[in-house]
């Protein structure tokens, strides 16, 4: 689900993301990207793009760079087919994250783009959040992450559990995010900072064991990822791997 290119967008400098993205685009699409990023840069330089320009402008007036943000999916298509390369979704994600980074999107801009965005655009906003911390008050985009975690769209759930969630979700919400991944089939590899945050979390371990018991009672398989996370909840000092049984655990 999360390929190398998308992981790149989670942590690499914009220049590296752009280079990786361009490698996979055909000439016309690369030209589109250059123009779109130049428009975003111009908007950021003029301070008309995000917060300053938004004041007094109709919500429905679309600055050019926001139009590029919306249409990225039809301009960033893999130049070469084949199962090994990045998917169209990966490329559109990367292009949109680059645009948000370039325009230095702040709180109002990310909220607007998320609220009126397609699922693909919402996903890109979520993926971009770690890149935008310099332009947004701490944890101010948490509502977007929480919105995405309420959906059942696995593309959004996977994008919501990145570094921003790792940093800002409280422990209760974070545990439910992990459980939701197991529930909806999002690989827990998508959960940023899983191991350090799960370590020693007895409540998460209880929730996992209860879920395993519920699955087993229904005659359904327990996802492998559940065992993985349960193992991570073991305290650093605990030698034994936690044990899943069909019977309800002590805490349940």
């Amino acid at each position: 689900m999360l390929t190398a290119l998308t992981e790149l967008t989670d942590g690499s400098p914009a220049r590296a993301v752009q280079a990786a993205l361009e490698e996979h685009l055909a000439g016309a699409d690369r030209a589109w990207l250059h123009e779109a990023l130049a428009e975003a840069q111009a908007a950021a330089d003029a301070e008309t793009a995000a917060e300053a320009g938004a004041a007094g402008r109709s919500l429905w007036t679309l600055p050019t760079w926001e139009l590029r943000f919306a249409e990225a999916g039809r301009h960033c298509r893999p130049a070469r087919g084949g199962p090994s390369g990045p998917s169209a979704q990966d490329l559109a994600d990367a292009a949109r994250v680059l645009l948000l980074h370039t325009v230095r999107a702040g709180h109002d801009t990310t909220s607007r783009l998320y609220t009126h965005g397609s699922a693909a655009e919402r996903r890109a906003v979520l993926l971009a959040l770690p890149h935008l911390s310099a332009h947004t008050p701490p944890a101010s985009a948490l509502a977007l992450v929480e919105d995405a975690l309420r959906t059942n769209d696995t593309r959004l759930v996977a994008a919501a559990v990145g570094p921003y969630a790792a940093e800002h979700l409280d422990q209760h919400a974070w545990r439910h995010a992990v459980l939701k991944c197991l529930f909806t089939g999002v690989p827990v590899d998508a959960v940023d900072g899983l191991a350090p945050r799960a370590r020693g979390d007895a409540e998460l371990a209880r929730m996992l064991r209860d879920y395993a018991a519920e699955r087993t009672a229904a005659g359904r398989p327990v996802p492998d990822d559940l065992h993985r996370v349960l193992a991570l909840t073991a305290d650093r000092d605990t030698a034994d791997r936690p044990h899943v049984t069909a019977a309800p655990s002590e805490e349940s």
């Binding site: 169209a88 699922a119 769209d153």
Partner: protein, 283 residues
């Protein structure tokens, strides 16, 4: 038989329908925005609906191997409601989205001045956004409505070859053909067209620019009617290539005018498995 249903309201349908549609050969759908079955009371209600057509519904469809696109608009019925018409101001923000392949469904319901205004404004939006338009013909006073629709199209900046006139029948097909627009037929269990009448129309008028849809929604309707028409055409002696043109190539050609049609579902989040979010969502 590969099938593209160019007009179906999947938001109103179940995952069983998606499964049966895939089994019948449906690999692509276009979902036009329309009435909810009860009046909306604000533009915000449209936004939630557009969100579904741009997010959740394509996600559901992809899990069943079906490519999903949509058309967005203020529908004719609600064009008469001042609580709803402000959504026209918001449409430009939504019409630029990747999976929007037309403005629609627009047209007439009761043929009021408010409907005149909304139809003309939305034809202009289509022209401005490089999109074709899906224009339904009214259920009541259909032939007069078709003539009035064609007049408005002629006065617009959108050429007729970028317009699909829908819900046609025996009484409107000639005037619709003469207009130069694409021709859409909705096949219903009791109302609109049925598969045998559809075969007769095609025998008379040929398959050029003809699209067949189920227009299935929350009313009595059948998402497999496209397949029934394909079977009826074959039984009547049409070739598989004829059927492919009507049920696949014509809708691909029409919505392809948007430049946004993507018929691969390779971005399908994950293959179906027991843990998928649709199966589990309600638990």
């Amino acid at each position: 038989m590969r099938i593209f249903d160019p007009h179906i309201h999947m938001t109103s349908r179940t995952t069983d329908d998606y499964e049966a549609m895939y089994a019948a050969g449906v690999r692509a759908v276009v979902e036009p925005s329309f009435w909810l079955g009860q009046p909306r009371t604000s533009p915000a209600s449209f936004f939630d609906y557009f969100d579904a057509l741009l997010g959740w519904e394509p996600f559901r469809a992809s899990q069943y191997g079906i490519a999903h696109h949509c058309t967005l608009a203020l529908n004719p019925k609600e064009a008469n409601d001042p609580r709803c018409t402000p959504v026209l101001d918001a449409l430009p923000r939504y019409l630029v989205k990747d999976s929007v392949v037309a403005v629609g469904e627009i047209g007439y319901d009761s043929m009021t001045p408010a409907e005149d205004t909304a139809l003309a404004a939305q034809l202009q939006l289509a022209a401005d956004h490089g999109l074709p338009a899906l224009v339904h013909t009214p259920h009541r006073d259909k032939l007069a409505g078709l003539h009035r629709t064609v007049d408005v199209i002629r006065e617009s900046d959108l050429p007729p070859e970028r317009v699909l006139l829908d819900h046609l029948n025996e009484t409107t097909v000639k005037a619709a053909t003469d207009s130069g627009c694409w021709l859409g037929f909705s096949i219903y269990p009791d109302t609109k067209m049925d598969e045998d009448r559809m075969v007769a129309v095609i025998k008379d008028h040929g398959i050029e620019k003809v699209l067949v849809n189920s227009a299935a929604d929350w009313g009595k309707s059948d998402p497999l009617k496209t397949r029934r028409v394909g079977d009826a055409l074959l039984a009547a002696g049409f070739t598989e290539d004829d059927v492919d043109q009507v049920l696949w190539r014509n809708p691909v050609a029409f919505y392809g005018l948007s430049g946004r049609l993507r018929l691969d579902v390779t971005d399908c989040p994950e293959p179906l498995h027991e843990g998928n979010s649709i199966l589990r969502g309600g638990e």
